[in-house]
């Protein structure tokens, strides 16, 4: 980049389109997977990137919402080619509560792929730590790291992992979504719930510590979830000397770097912090660079 002030991952491969919903299925309590047909995006998007989604022709809600790539798929419309994008969302407020009622054939405005995606780093053991709805960026990453699927440009270099563990924390068992997708990818899934209704009764950081105790030296952590949980995971990672990338879920208004809503305090090499735009400088950051 000739311009050191400019983000490295602005929307340089993004498309904006009005797309049709192919399916919208319930995965868990208040959690749905929406699939829409958008061949250009499906062929470009890579794990850790996101897209913006808006309800067409409405001014309330007005602003698009950022949602992570869950996976790409074949809609069935185009000779079996990968032409659709899957997003998994938790019903939270204005937009997602309306989206939950969407049926096949209804239209959405989308733009993407956006953001940097996960850095490619080969490792013996990739440890994914997810809290709440933070598991969504990891299905595609696991598929890629374990050599099951490819995403984006087929000439893109992909870093493999010898094995992948998911430490996944939720409030209750009925909020866990997508576990079969991880198991199908070959991921070793460990679960923690706040109320003990499934898996370990306690915090996901305890699962992470156990996993780190058993893991070999060549390991890496990726993390996504509520901010306090990511901060705790970053602390465990630093304490154990393990490299850690986190995907921030900062609220966004444009997703493409033009509004300066989505800022997070990021340290530069000198240790000075500046507000960086999560949408174009992230959403994935090295955990050690974040000022929590």
């Amino acid at each position: 980049m000739s311009n050191p002030l400019h983000a490295r991952h602005y929307a340089d491969r993004a498309v904006q389109q009005t797309v049709e919903v192919v399916e919208n299925v319930k995965l868990a309590v208040d959690t749905y997977r929406v699939r829409f047909r958008c061949p250009d995006m499906a062929q470009r998007i890579v794990p850790g990137q996101f897209l913006m989604l808006k309800l067409s022709d409405l001014t309330d809600p007005l602003i698009g919402r950022p949602l992570a790539l869950y996976d790409t798929a074949a809609s069935g419309a185009g000779a079996g080619d990968v032409d659709a994008v899957d997003v998994v969302y938790l019903v939270k407020g204005k937009l997602t509560s309306r989206l939950a009622g969407f049926r096949p054939g209804q239209r959405l405005d989308v733009w993407g792929p956006l953001g940097n995606g996960f850095a490619q780093q080969a490792t013996d053991h990739l440890i994914m730590v997810a809290g709440g709805i933070g598991q969504t960026p990891f299905v595609a990453l696991a598929n890629e790291a374990l050599g099951r699927r490819r995403y984006g440009d087929m000439t893109r270099e992909v870093a493999r992992a010898g094995r992948v563990t998911l430490c996944y924390g939720a409030r209750r068992a009925d909020l866990l979504a997508g576990i079969e997708d991880f198991e199908r990818a070959g991921v070793d899934v460990k679960i923690a719930t706040d109320d003990g209704s499934r898996g370990y009764h306690g915090l996901v950081t305890d699962l992470l510590k156990q996993t780190l105790d058993e893991a070999g030296e060549d390991r890496r952590i990726v993390c996504c979830g509520p901010e306090p949980m990511m901060e705790a995971v970053a602390g465990v990672a630093a304490g154990s000397g393990t490299a850690c990338q986190v995907s921030l879920e900062t609220p966004m208004a444009c997703g493409i770097g033009i509004c300066f809503t989505c800022v997070a305090k990021i340290r530069d090499i000198d240790g000075e912090w500046d507000y960086k735009r999560t949408c174009v400088d992230g959403p994935v950051f090295d955990a050690a660079s974040i000022v929590w």
Binding site: A11, I256, C259, F260, T261
Partner: protein
């Protein structure tokens, strides 16, 4: 003699803002288009009538603490706080890219004092590739800039000072958060502004009653988007009755009907703001639709539509020809 039916292909889109000539009236508003490069994949930047990058200040500003925006009904509240890297970084890192684009470049500046504004404008005058300056005397999110937009005397002095130190065309961007926007506009016009940009955001607030806390990091913020369009139209209309210089309409513009309403009400051009966030290609769609909309009024020039509003008691115009050829 003007043809009775005009063809969209023949419509002259160019408009004149004082000393500044624009190829068409669709501009993008400061703070809602980054530094333009972010948009190069989604927008054909060379087609725009003008680009106004995010406001710059003399020194870098980190901006306000999050939350920086909150959605409102058909609108957006923001308290970004002029997050920018300062004028020197802009000139070094963003200007070379922006200057290469065909679209006119209007650089938006905000100073904390009269002298700072004047010094920044003088500095810009020394660089090529800049077509005009827009004085942001209306940002609700920083203290110390807004007085120029609320006090006619300070506003007039500032415009005169900038005019004396910088030979670029000057746009003054006004705030609606005043009792009489016309009196501020008159002062800016009398002091030599080439055009006025109307409006910046409308001061507002959002509250989380359960937590009993304001939602915006800066407590107060500026409302933008479709919710403020009627206020912006009113400002353009009132100011057009008070001054003779061209106006640039801003506020909630997202559709071709919005654009035409502002032109008819008295704006020579418009700036698209919040709509860029939720429909990044909106400016291109509006440019595609503009010629036919102008032709449907049997006009051959955008400029002849500007300020063509009739009195409320005037007889209704004949419906537009159904098939303009």
């Amino acid at each position: 003699m003007p043809p009775s039916e005009s063809s969209p292909a023949d419509v002259d889109l160019s408009v004149q803002l004082g000393r500044l000539a624009l190829p068409n009236p669709i501009l993008v508003a400061s703070g809602t288009f980054g530094y333009a490069r972010e948009m190069e994949q989604l927008v054909d930047l060379d087609r725009l009538g003008g680009i106004i990058p995010k406001t710059i200040t003399r020194l870098p500003r980190p901006g306000n603490a999050p939350w920086r925006t909150v959605e409102a009904s058909s609108g957006l509240l923001n308290s970004i706080g002029l997050d920018n890297d300062g004028i020197d970084a802009f000139l070094e890192h963003h200007l070379p890219y922006l200057a290469r684009l065909q679209s006119p470049l209007i650089v938006s500046i905000a100073g904390r004092s009269h002298d700072e504004f004047v010094a920044m404008a003088a500095k810009l005058a020394g660089f090529s590739g800049i077509d005009a300056v827009e004085l942001n005397i209306s940002c609700p999110n920083v203290s110390g800039g807004v007085d120029f937009g609320t006090d006619p005397e300070l506003c007039g002095k500032l415009v005169a000072g900038v005019r004396g130190s910088c030979d670029l065309p000057i746009l003054a961007k006004l705030t609606p958060n005043v009792t009489s926007i016309a009196s501020i506009a008159e002062a800016a016009a009398a002091a030599g502004a080439d055009a006025l940009s109307l409006i910046n955001t409308v001061l507002g607030m959002a509250v989380d009653w359960r937590q009993r806390r304001p939602l915006l990091g800066n407590v107060l913020g500026g409302l933008s988007g479709p919710a403020i369009k009627p206020i912006a139209l009113r400002c353009v209309y009132q100011v057009s009755q008070a001054v003779d210089i061209p106006l640039v309409g801003i506020g909630g513009i997202a559709t071709i009907d919005d654009v035409m309403e502002f032109l008819v009400a008295g704006a020579s051009a418009v700036q698209i703001g919040t709509a860029n966030y939720y429909d990044p290609a909106v400016s291109m769609k509006l440019l595609d639709q503009l010629p036919a909309a102008v032709a449907s009024l049997e006009a051959t020039r955008v400029a002849s539509v500007v300020g063509s509003l009739q009195r409320a008691d005037a007889p209704p115009a004949a419906p537009p020809a159904s098939s303009a050829t």
